[in-house]
């Protein structure tokens, strides 16, 4: 809205990062924290999805549950986990690239 004049700050930010000033270090730490948070979010999702499975599949009620004659554990571990891993990997790639684009924009728009 008020951004009529070209802001001088982005060009300086690049220099701050290159020369390792306090501001530059803080910018890089922000990038690092954002990427780590994204990675930990996906890792947490994977943990929530996978970690309960060995206990879950050992429950008698779950062991008797079959779909088309095939026990649930075989469906999940033999087939369903692979697309889930792939989708988590894709989701992380998208998030990580968006964080990198935002950072690049912040640094060198001018």
């Amino acid at each position: 809205m008020a951004d009529r004049r070209p802001a001088p700050t982005p060009v300086r930010r690049g220099v701050e990062v290159a020369e390792q000033t306090e501001i530059g270090r803080e910018l890089v730490r922000g990038l690092l924290r954002a990427q780590l948070a994204a990675a930990l979010r996906i890792a947490g999702m994977a943990l929530l999805l996978f970690a309960p499975l060995p206990i879950l599949f050992a429950l008698p009620a779950v062991q008797d549950f079959r779909i088309l004659g095939v026990p649930l554990a075989w469906w999940v571990l033999g087939a369903a986990v692979y697309p889930v891993v792939y989708l988590l990997a894709r989701l992380h790639r998208r998030q990580a690239e968006r964080i990198e684009r935002d950072f690049t924009d912040l640094l060198g728009r001018g």
């Binding site: 290159a18 890089v28 990675a39 095939v70 792939y86």
Partner: protein, 537 residues
């Protein structure tokens, strides 16, 4: 005999093909197993020849040391993902997984799940920053991040330990396959695969390895998918009969007495171990930039997911159609005998030949990657890093595991491969994850963690191999699957020692972390160098 004459045309594999040709002749003279053996041998020799031919084709492009080590960083994600998968799908995946599923049931499904999910962890925490570090090898990364020769030397020793630990079962597996097919002594197959791999790496280095391994992914997929489809079509097993009895139930474990604990330890070792495997790491240096390293891992998870459907189905069919292996005998050879047992006749022999060729492709691909990785650190850290040095290093890197494999008795392939994963998860996983994301990891912390993690995992595995029966059960189980203990201890050691020595931290850590995490376009805007400065000769 046309296959044999074609062999002699390929100079790169001439030494090894002489061995293969000799075994072909002796198999032909063995009248009792003529049909199946001859077909399998022809298929195996053709795989070796194709590997050599693609390798020889790549030689023309390999000129500089950089070409040899990392294909000059020009390999695109599609090719690189197929090459990573082709290299990664070893004997453990091809023969071991199907056999374990046939014997142990659904708990063994965690092996392929972990082998795949490990790439997710690799992508989340390691792939892009590691690529941006611009390191050729794991010791290079240590040097760039910490600038310490001591840490570099520890990394070199661990790369060699993991690579050779992983190579020995590959060679044992090759010996097993050729023994099954020809009846020749096991050392013939061990020597043949070691020589083919070493000759190929010496001739072409990484450039040709990329082509060879991309080819081998698709070949291995076909060599397993075709037999699965054909056997399922011919035998038409009813689904209800396939999943009968206690075998089909979860929670029966992986052979020990604490089923659920074993599964969790295996999950920890495989999920976290992939990122520490030297032959996997070295492949990420060949992608153009950090973003394409990430794109590569996404594709790898897809390719591995497609592949592992087939050992799973094969394992289920094998359980129904074949008797379980005798006690004390490994399940690794079940897949080789399966087509002939299930359908028999010419079709069965053809399918058996295809499976044998796929297994040999698996040994060749993984062994090549491991020899390249070991030769890479040997040539840059022990020798002076010239092309001629790389060739000598490749000879050493290929012949040391040969010397280790020949006298040792054969263990279960997946068991030894699992050990390599546990060592990688206990050493390079904490080094990479903490080194990439925490500026506070000091040189002393890294060295201490590597020595403690490596010492615990290697020590536990050595004890469990040397004294398998001398230990009481909970202890023996932990020593055989040490990841559940050694991985947290390695992380804790690195963190605690780093906090105690935090006065040694320098501004260098901030500069290196900036270089690891700032993406390419922003780096140009900030006028950072394309790679962090590697201050070694």
């Amino acid at each position: 005999m046309s296959a044999v004459s074609a062999v002699s045309a390929v100079s790169a594999v001439s030494a090894a093909s002489a061995v293969s040709a000799a075994s072909a002749v002796s198999a032909v003279s063995d009248a009792t197993t003529l049909g199946s053996s001859t077909l399998s041998l022809i298929a195996i020799v053709m795989v070796a020849v194709a590997t050599g031919a693609i390798g020889a084709f790549g030689v023309r492009m390999a000129r500089t040391t950089s070409d040899f080590l990392v294909a000059s960083r020009t390999v695109r994600p599609g090719w690189n993902a197929a090459a990573i998968s082709g290299e990664y799908l070893s004997a453990a995946s091809f023969l071991g997984v199907a056999g374990l599923i046939a014997v142990q049931g659904p708990d063994a499904l965690w092996y392929p799940v972990g082998f795949t999910a490990g790439y997710l962890a690799l992508q989340l925490f390691v792939a892009a920053p590691l690529r941006r570090s611009g390191a050729y090898t794991m010791p290079d990364f240590a040097q760039i991040r910490w600038g310490s020769r001591r840490l570099r030397a520890v990394c070199t020793a661990l790369v060699l330990a993991i690579a050779w630990l992983y190579l020995v079962p590959q060679l044992h597996g090759a010996g097993l396959v050729l023994q099954q097919v020809t009846g020749l002594p096991r050392w013939v197959g061990i020597v043949a695969v070691a020589l083919v791999v070493t000759a190929n790496v010496v001739a072409g280095g990484m450039r040709s390895i990329t082509l060879v391994q991309a080819f081998q992914y698709w070949f291995k997929l076909m060599a397993l998918a075709v037999p699965v489809f054909v056997v399922a079509m011919i035998t038409r097993p009813g689904v209800e009969n396939l999943f009968a009895g206690q075998w089909a139930e979860s929670g029966t474990g992986l052979g020990g007495s604490h089923p659920i604990a074993e599964v969790y330890s295996l999950m920890l070792a495989t999920f976290l171990g992939v990122m520490g495997l030297p032959h996997v790491l070295v492949r990420f240096y060949t992608t153009p930039d950090g973003g394409s390293a990430r794109a590569t891992t996404v594709r790898v998870t897809a390719l591995l997911g497609v592949f592992y459907l087939f050992p799973t189905i094969a394992g289920v069919l094998m359980h129904q159609l074949m008797p379980p292996p005798a006690p004390g005998e490994s399940a690794d050879s079940m897949l080789l005998q399966w087509p002939a047992t299930a359908v028999g006749g010419t079709v069965g022999n053809l399918l058996a030949a295809l499976v044998a060729a796929g297994a040999i492709a698996a040994f060749l691909a993984t062994s090549s990657g491991l020899v390249v990785a070991a030769a890479g650190v040997l040539s840059t850290d022990v020798l002076r890093g010239r092309v001629r040095d790389f060739r000598w290093a490749a000879v050493v890197a290929g012949l040391v595991p040969l010397a280790m494999a020949l006298p040792t008795t054969s263990l279960d392939i997946s068991q030894v491969v699992g050990m390599a994963f546990a060592v990688a998860a206990s050493t390079f996983c904490p080094l990479l994850v903490l080194g990439i994301w925490w500026r506070g990891l000091t040189t002393a912390g890294a060295v201490a963690g590597l020595i403690v993690g490596g010492g615990l995992s290697l020590g536990a595995l050595t004890v469990s191999v040397v004294l398998p029966d001398a230990l009481p059960e909970p202890l023996a189980g932990l020593l055989g699957q040490p990841a559940v203990g050694s991985v947290p201890v390695a992380f804790a050691t690195m963190i605690v020692v780093s906090l105690l020595t935090r006065s040694a931290l320098t501004p260098r850590a901030d500069a290196v972390l900036a270089a690891l995490h700032v993406p390419g376009p922003a780096r140009r805007a900030a006028a950072l160098p394309d790679r962090p400065h590697a201050d070694h000769p």
